[in-house]
């Protein structure tokens, strides 16, 4: 019996979140608030676990390291200074450290990973792939479309208004539209995958617990009945007033 509680809770919160599709309602509010609270609590617990492990694992070994650890804790606590106007300026210190280290760490290789390697790959793309017609067409399109899109965002000089550039702009627009269409299609896949995954749980399809099926029927009925019933009651009541 106790084993069923997490399953019923899981079904309740899944349907609670999806109940927003009908309209804003208390079931959704409960599910949303509990989810947010739980997610934040879980995140804080994981962060604290990491800090505790760092302390016991290495930073408590010597006085110097303990001092450094205490200093980092002080810097960490300065994040919370943003909640008070008089101490707000302190919040800029940890922010500066995070932004500075983050950019510094990324910058050392970003020029290779996302710039030079991509240019080299583009330059190395052959126009003709032996025995692969689709590959050849694909590569020719890449060689035409990528430079076109890059040129589309070239805003300086008078050549932008020239006749050849109008053709390039047209190709670039179609390229970007194809790109956005592809992204939209994949987004549909992701959103539906989410619904399919939760539906598999609600229907108790293995390895999900089979008990979820009964919980799904009962909770869906209660939620729908309460929302539709309330709407009908209010509809009936409004003309009388």
């Amino acid at each position: 019996m106790v084993d069923l509680i997490p399953i019923w809770l899981c079904v309740f919160f899944t349907l609670g979140i999806y109940s927003i599709l009908y309209r804003e309602n208390p079931w959704f509010r409960i599910a949303e608030s509990v989810y947010l609270g739980t997610a934040v609590g879980y995140a804080v617990s994981q962060d604290l676990l990491y800090i505790r492990n760092q302390w016991s694992g290495q930073w408590s070994q010597s006085a110097g390291m303990m001092l450094l650890f205490a200093l980092t804790m002080v810097v960490g606590l300065m994040w919370y200074a943003r909640f008070n106007k008089s101490t707000f300026y302190l919040y800029r210190w940890p922010l500066a450290i995070i932004v500075g280290t983050g950019i510094g760490v990324a910058l050392k290789t970003v020029i290779f990973t996302q710039f030079l390697d991509q240019i080299i790959a583009q330059a190395n793309t052959p126009f003709f792939v032996a025995g692969d017609l689709m590959g050849t067409i694909n590569n020719i399109l890449i060689q035409i479309m990528v430079p076109s899109v890059l040129l589309y965002f070239w805003f300086t000089g008078t050549t932008r208004d020239s006749a050849p550039m109008k053709v390039v702009e047209k190709i670039a627009r179609y390229t970007m539209m194809a790109g956005f269409g592809s992204a939209y299609g994949y987004t549909i896949l992701t959103r539906y995958s989410l619904l399919i995954g939760r539906s598999q749980y609600l229907l108790g399809i293995p390895p999900n617990p089979p008990e979820a099926k009964l919980a799904f029927i009962v909770i869906a009925f209660v939620m729908l009945a309460s929302m539709i019933g309330y709407d009908m009651f209010m509809k009936k009541k409004t003309p009388e007033e």
Binding site: L21, Y22, A39, Y42, A43, Q46, D47, L49, Y50, N53, Q54, S56, G57, Q58, T101, G102, V105, A106, K108, T109, V110, F112, T113, Q114, D117, Q118, I120, A121, T125, I142, G179, S182, A183, G185, Y186, T187, I188, L189, T190, Y192, S193, L194, L195, I196, G197, R198, S199, Q200, L203, I205, P207
Partner: protein, 277 residues
């Protein structure tokens, strides 16, 4: 009001209801539609099968939370089963806070002990490391300085035999990362692939696919598993049908619904446009 005008002003709740029906129906009563194997699935399977050698060290990283599970969990399970069949060392780590939670669920379905793997000798779970890209870079420099204790037993890394030969990114042969966003593939590529030359294969949600393809074309990424459908194909290749295969019919019917709605919406738009003129 004409039917076409009614279609244009259709209550969105009817569309949601249709979406539920088109998903639930094939799950309750599977259609058994064929699952053709794409190049993406074949590349992923071939890479894990042929390029991962005995004695290799593999990073297995679940860079997603519960919201990414419906799409990424089936491929994570299938890949874990695949690499557990090999004689490799597996280091589980995540830079997403809900990652340990997801891995706990995965372990509930795929127990490494069933494959003869011993915790601390053949695999280890380092848990969650906060700090995003900075943490990813730090782990590449030194495992021991970045992670003090393991996630499962809370013991120092030095007490596990598996970590004797794993000190930095130089000791890792492959990264397998499943992800929904940042930090993810670009961070792995910047801190591990470009800096240390560690190969990486990535499983991602559909939304991320257009952003990943340039890395595949440039050869920076060795293989890509884009979304649930390819995950189903991989399960077929492995002969281990799971949740992805069970859900692939629903993917087809739900996409059919979207296509139908787009067509009907366009017809209604153009027909009512004529009326207005």
């Amino acid at each position: 009001m004409s039917i076409m005008k009614k279609v244009q002003n259709l209550d969105t709740r009817i569309i949601y209801l249709l979406a539920w029906l088109f998903v639930l129906f094939p799950l309750i009563s599977p259609l058994g539609l064929p699952i053709p194997i794409s190049n993406d699935a074949r590349n992923w399977y071939n890479y894990v099968e042929n390029e991962v050698n005995d004695g290799d060290t593999v990073i297995f990283s679940l860079m997603y939370g519960t919201s990414g599970m419906p799409e990424l969990f089936p491929m994570s399970v299938a890949t874990m089963k695949h690499i557990l069949e090999k004689d490799v060392k597996i280091v589980v780590v995540t830079f997403w806070v809900e990652g340990p939670l997801v891995f706990d669920t995965l372990i509930g379905q795929v127990d490494p002990a069933d494959y003869g793997k011993v915790y601390g000798e053949d695999w280890i779970n380092l848990g969650y490391i906060p700090g995003q890209e900075t943490a990813i870079g730090s782990l590449a420099t030194s495992f021991q300085n970045t992670v003090a204790n393991d996630y499962v037993e809370g013991r120092p890394l030095s007490s596990f035999p598996i970590m004797d030969d794993i000190k930095s990114a130089n000791d890792v042969d492959l990264i397998i990362s499943f992800e929904t966003g940042t930090p993810g593939a670009p961070e792995w590529l910047r801190q591990w692939n470009t800096a240390y030359g560690v190969p990486i294969i990535v499983g991602c949600i559909g939304v991320s696919v257009p952003g990943m393809i340039p890395y595949i074309n440039s050869g920076q990424m060795a293989a890509l598993m884009p979304g649930l459908t390819v995950s189903a194909e991989y399960e077929v290749l492995l002969s281990k049908p799971g949740l992805a295969v069970a859900g692939v019919d629903a993917v087809s019917t739900s996409h059919l619904l979207v296509v139908l709605l787009v067509i009907i919406g366009n017809i209604a738009y153009f027909m009512t446009k004529e009326d207005e003129k």
